[in-house]
C-alpha cells in the first residue's frame, strides 16, 4: 500500500485520483492550474480547493500533531477540524479545504519541528 502512494506522490502531473465515470455527476476539469507544494510544481483544476488538488496528487499527510508530531490528514473538509492548515502565499494557518486553488499559489505544509514547537 505504501509503495502505491509513493508511486503516486512522484507523479507531478496530478489527475491520478479523479473520478473516471459517474452515473450522476459530470466534472468539467477544463482549466488546468499549476501551483507549488513544498517547492514541487503540481497541477490541479480550476474549482478545486487546495486540499482536493493535493489529494489528487497523492498527498494525504497534511499536518503533524503538535506534541507527538504524528502525521495527520484532514478530517472534515468543511472548515471545522483545522487538520488541513498550511501556509499559503506566506500566510500561516490557511484552511486548505476551504480555499480555492489559484494559478501560481505557493503552498507549504506546516510540519517542521520549529513551527510545531512554536504553537
Amino acid at each position: 500500500m505504501k509503495a502505491l502512494y509513493d508511486k503516486i506522490v512522484n507523479v507531478e502531473s496530478g489527475d491520478k485520483m479523479r473520478v473516471d465515470e459517474h452515473p450522476i455527476l459530470t466534472f468539467k476539469n477544463e482549466e488546468k492550474l499549476f501551483f507549488t507544494y513544498n517547492g514541487k510544481k503540481l497541477q490541479g483544476f480550476k474549482g478545486d480547493t487546495i486540499a482536493a488538488a493535493l489529494v489528487d496528487n497523492g498527498i494525504m499527510h497534511f499536518s503533524n500533531s503538535i506534541i507527538h508530531k504524528r502525521p495527520r490528514g484532514f478530517y472534515c473538509a468543511i472548515g471545522n477540524c483545522g487538520s488541513c492548515n498550511m501556509t499559503v502565499n506566506g500566510i500561516d494557518n490557511v484552511k486548505t479545504c476551504m480555499t480555492l486553488l489559484e494559478e501560481g499559489m505557493i503552498v507549504v505544509s506546516q510540519v517542521t519541528e520549529e513551527l510545531a514547537n512554536d504553537i
Binding site: L25, D48, A51, F62, A77, I78, M98
Partner: protein, 361 residues
C-alpha cells in the same frame, strides 16, 4: 458598521429558506456563508430526497440547492456575503464577520442562527492517521471536486450518512470493503442498506473498529465483534485491508456562536449535543436571536428547510414585518413539520424535542 433588518448566519437549507420567507415579508437581509458557495451540505448530496413534494421529495440534494439559491439570489433586498465567517455574536445583536483578511461588524434587528452541524469523531487506536476522514469529508471530495479519497474504504457507522456515502463511493468507483456498525441493528433506512447489500457490500452489525493499521497512512483496520453489553468478544478480531477509513458516527450542532453569546443551552443526546432552548416561535433566550436547522438538533435537510421558513416568518412578524400569507403559512409549515416527524423514524427527534419543550405526540 452595516445595518440590516435581519442577519442570517449559514447558507444551507435552513438559512436559505429563512431568507426566502423574510424577503417575502419585505425585510432587508444579509446572508453570511463561510464557504465559497451557498447550499450548505446539499451541494454534495447526489441522492434523491424522501418526504413530501413540499420538501422537494424525489429531487436530488444538489438540485434542491440550486432551487433554493435561485429563489433568492437576485432579490434586491438581499446581500450575500460568501467566504465570510461570523466569528462573534454579541448581546446587542451585533456580529463580527471575518472575510478576506478583514474584520467588520454588522448590526441587525434580528439574527437567525442556521450554522448547521459538524461531524463527530471516534476514539480508537491510531485514529489520527492520514486516510481517516469524516464520511461527509469524503462526500465533499468526491462529489464536489471529483477526487477519490483512496481505492478501498471501510465505513464506520451505518446511519443514513454512512449508508448513502458508501453507495456514492461505489458509484464513483471506490471499493467499499465493509460497513461496520456497533449496534445490533442497521441505523439508517432499510432502502439505503438494501442498495448496498445488492452491490455485495457487507454490513457488519455488533462490530466495532479497534484500531487503524499503518505507520504514515492507513493500510488496514482491525475490527472486533461486540456482545449484548457492548463488550469486545475476544478472539473475534479480524483485519480488513483498506487505504481509507470513513467515520460516520453522527453529527453535533454547531452551537459555538450561541454559547459565546451566553444563550440558554441544554445538552440533549437525541438532538446530537448542546442545543439552544427556544420558544415555540424559534426565538432563543437572546431577544430577537432565532435558531433553526441542525444547530437546534440533528435532523434532516427536509425539516431544516421547513424550520428555516418558520424562523424567517417569526423573525419578521416580531418586528412588524407581516408576511402576505402570515398565519396561513405558519399553519401550513407547522403541519409539514408534524408530518415529517411522525412515525417510528421520527421517534428519536420527537423525544429530543420534548426535552427542549416542543411536543409533537
Amino acid at each position: 458598521m452595516i445595518y440590516k433588518d435581519l442577519v442570517v448566519i449559514g447558507g444551507g437549507p435552513a438559512g436559505l429558506s429563512a431568507c426566502k420567507v423574510a424577503l417575502e415579508a419585505d425585510m432587508k437581509v444579509a446572508l453570511f456563508e463561510r464557504s465559497f458557495d451557498l447550499g450548505g451540505q446539499l451541494v454534495k448530496q447526489t441522492h434523491k430526497f424522501f418526504g413530501s413534494e413540499s420538501q422537494y421529495a424525489k429531487t436530488r440534494g444538489i438540485d434542491i440547492a440550486k432551487i433554493l439559491i435561485d429563489e433568492i439570489k437576485n432579490e434586491g433586498n438581499l446581500e450575500i456575503f460568501l467566504d465570510a465567517t461570523v466569528v462573534g455574536l454579541y448581546k446587542d445583536n451585533i456580529i463580527t464577520v471575518y472575510q478576506k483578511d478583514k474584520y467588520f461588524k454588522v448590526k441587525a434587528k434580528a439574527i437567525i442562527i442556521a450554522t448547521g452541524a459538524s461531524e463527530k469523531f471516534l476514539g480508537f487506536e491510531n485514529n489520527d492517521l492520514p486516510g481517516i476522514y469524516g464520511a461527509g469529508a469524503v462526500q465533499t471530495l468526491m462529489n464536489i471536486h471529483g477526487v477519490l479519497p483512496g481505492k478501498e474504504v471501510v465505513m464506520v457507522g451505518s446511519g443514513n450518512i454512512g449508508l448513502i456515502v458508501s453507495y456514492q463511493l461505489m458509484q464513483a468507483g471506490v471499493k467499499v470493503k465493509a460497513v461496520v456498525e456497533a449496534s445490533k441493528n442497521i441505523g439508517g433506512y432499510l432502502v439505503h442498506a438494501s442498495k448496498l447489500k445488492r452491490l455485495g457490500v457487507d454490513i457488519l452489525t455488533s462490530t466495532t473498529i479497534t484500531k487503524a493499521l499503518g505507520f504514515d497512512a492507513v493500510e488496514g483496520v482491525e475490527i472486533v465483534k461486540l456482545d449484548d453489553l457492548w463488550q469486545r468478544i475476544k478472539g473475534t478480531e479480524e483485519v480488513l485491508n483498506c487505504d481509507t477509513i470513513c467515520i460516520s458516527v453522527g453529527l453535533s450542532p454547531m452551537h459555538q456562536l450561541l454559547s459565546m453569546a451566553e444563550a440558554n443551552m441544554i445538552y440533549v443526546n437525541e438532538l446530537g449535543g448542546l442545543v439552544p432552548i427556544k420558544t415555540c416561535d424559534y426565538e432563543t433566550s437572546l431577544p430577537h436571536v432565532y435558531a433553526c436547522g441542525d444547530v437546534t438538533g440533528i435532523e434532516e435537510a427536509s425539516s431544516a428547510m421547513v424550520e428555516g421558513k418558520i424562523c424567517g416568518l417569526m423573525a419578521a412578524r416580531h418586528l412588524g414585518f407581516i408576511h402576505p400569507n402570515d398565519e396561513a403559512l405558519e399553519f401550513e409549515l407547522n403541519n409539514q413539520l408534524c408530518i415529517l416527524r411522525q412515525g417510528p423514524c421520527g421517534e428519536k427527534i420527537r423525544c429530543g424535542l420534548k426535552k427542549v419543550g416542543e411536543i409533537y405526540d
